[in-house]
Assembly symmetry: C2
Homo-oligomer: 421 residues x 2
Amino acid sequence: MINIGIIGAGTVGSSVIKILKQNKDIIQARAGKSLIIKTAVVKNINKKRDFEDVIITDDVDKVLNDKDIDIVVELMGGVDDAFEVVKKALKNGKAVITANKAMLAYHRYELQDIAGKLAFEYEAAVAGGIPIITALRDGLTANHILSIKGIMNGTTNYMLDAMINDGINYKDILKKAQDLGYAEADPSFDVGGTDAAHKLLILASIAYGIDAKPEDILIEGIENIALEDIKFAKEFDYTIKLLAIANKVENKVELRVHPVLISNKKMIAKIDGVMNGISVVGDKVGETLYYGAGAGGDATASAVIANIVDIARQGKASPMLGFDKPLEQNLKLVKKGDIRTKYYIRFCVANQTGVLNSISEILSKKGISIETMLQNQKDKNRANLSLSIYECCEKDINEALDKIRELEFVDENISKIRIEV
Amino acid sequence: MINIGIIGAGTVGSSVIKILKQNKDIIQARAGKSLIIKTAVVKNINKKRDFEDVIITDDVDKVLNDKDIDIVVELMGGVDDAFEVVKKALKNGKAVITANKAMLAYHRYELQDIAGKLAFEYEAAVAGGIPIITALRDGLTANHILSIKGIMNGTTNYMLDAMINDGINYKDILKKAQDLGYAEADPSFDVGGTDAAHKLLILASIAYGIDAKPEDILIEGIENIALEDIKFAKEFDYTIKLLAIANKVENKVELRVHPVLISNKKMIAKIDGVMNGISVVGDKVGETLYYGAGAGGDATASAVIANIVDIARQGKASPMLGFDKPLEQNLKLVKKGDIRTKYYIRFCVANQTGVLNSISEILSKKGISIETMLQNQKDKNRANLSLSIYECCEKDINEALDKIRELEFVDENISKIRIEV
């Protein structure tokens, strides 16, 4: 028998309790043991809950100091408080399961050290119900990982999908996503890319053993995608996705989250609506892709319970972040400004001679070459000038765009979307 | 240090040896141990091989009776001889890894009994480099599995893709697949569906704890797909895939392998070329999908090595077939004739009155209802009559078609392809 304490009984916690009851037959046949939720820690102890046979408390120590409890499931969220709770659970010798991506984005290496030989699992922290942690940590161990490209935020994928397929503009679709409960009242965590970045950092540790914080990596959101950019994308058989990318370039690793233009033919481009998908390329296995629900109470609880079963089955689990000892040759993070990609750029310019010349001169001075160009009349006096440019580094294109922005016949708002090949 | 003996050093075995050397840095950092291929058993000991530091022998007992060897990797293929070798390895207390789907299709439950607490792993046996065994056995344990739908044979997926997208007929694309090395000189194992059926049986054990042999299940290949059927498919925004399907219907499970017409909008329909993909629907997690290379030396070796790392990391692995104890309520296999699906049927008929009436009368007597109908002139005297019919059972449609086949104005060759919704 395994006794479990849950800290935080919101959407996911309630689903864990519910599913352990509803699917008790198959879960216990798979685990070979009875899995009992002994105690749930909640914020508001007066709220009515349907948790039969579970002790409800608002005192976290009722779980942390209970010698009968084998596994602590942390679902309270937030970074600092959760970190303290989890540390104490580990110090008290308990296995820990968490769905807390923000905490892991900041504290995963400290937690690995503290956990030592104790099981510390977090399948639910990345891409909800998709068993991507298991796949990357246990399924692809033969490979040097060449790249990870993931749609790891369902809200933004839903929004981009509607903008592209139904022509809805950013503001309207954001409101709709909020009405449907996909986006929070403050949506910045999703649309700004932070949520996806937290997940990327976790995967990058498993793939590369690389320690980085959200502040260290390039993060851009979807707030500035305009319908005019979408029109361009469709014309060239691209779609637009918010991708979280880890890319091995020789002995360095790029980590970045930003919207991309990507060919509709790529598997990752085919992931629609609120779904998540992660493409992982290994040097031996080639491309593998994992698809499923990235959020929602039941899907996330499915991952939490998989970890409970793992721990129930095994004495010793895989190393928390996938490495039993460090790589001999440590991989370094590529600096933000040194990241190289292709770009699509759209300028809104006045209809006058010399415009293209001035722009291309500035680009050329930075060593940036134009690949394709498309000009569309916007109104009587202005035109949209859309360029795709060959691979160049972040720093150079930003400096060039700052100069171009100073030209009097160019609008300040310049669209810049990376092209993923 | 873990010592490994490999039995069978063909394409996959050679890749295992090569990758363990090439990616030694990352594999050993992940496993925390040195992984040494001590001995390889080969058929022809005189063939020159590039296996430095590996003992080459043609005597299988040099591996099975070597007390230093911890893990036996069986890559010899075939059913009976491999089964004897693997049994002996387990009796000698060795962990076993196999890529042998045919052996598992027949002997997996006996092997599970013999293995007992010893590790017995087989990630490479299903869908090559895709970690689908890990996903299903460890990642989705919270769920009752509602269905598995897989493209698990790359050869046939490549062929169907070319027939649909390039209009190449079956005979020509089979020859091309053979020239490219995708299909064997005797291609019946691939095109007839047996290969996919072996893999399906393995997955069905993990999902449902169901014991069945290839003979027990419905298996049809792609040999009879005609370009006229493909034309129909395209007209209605379907594609054609050879799917291996496990479907839970109340307390029973359907297991079947056959071509299907499936909407292009489904994720599984988007898997092109030689790639494999498996869609798994859980009652809690919803649909998840796994995509990657299903064959090839390096991709398959990637899965074998993942199992080696698993065993090196852990004392005790997950239960071989995913269940530590049987399900209380055993699931039963649906009889072949009782399987219910929708169908597309194409008759080639003479141009005369009363044809449709005779056909629809026979169908109607069996309680089979027509959903849509399309008639195309084939030549001056004959027409193609394409029907889609509502869900009915295998036995009824087969009996109806036997009667229709007797009608003098209907050609003997009737196309029958199930429609997957």
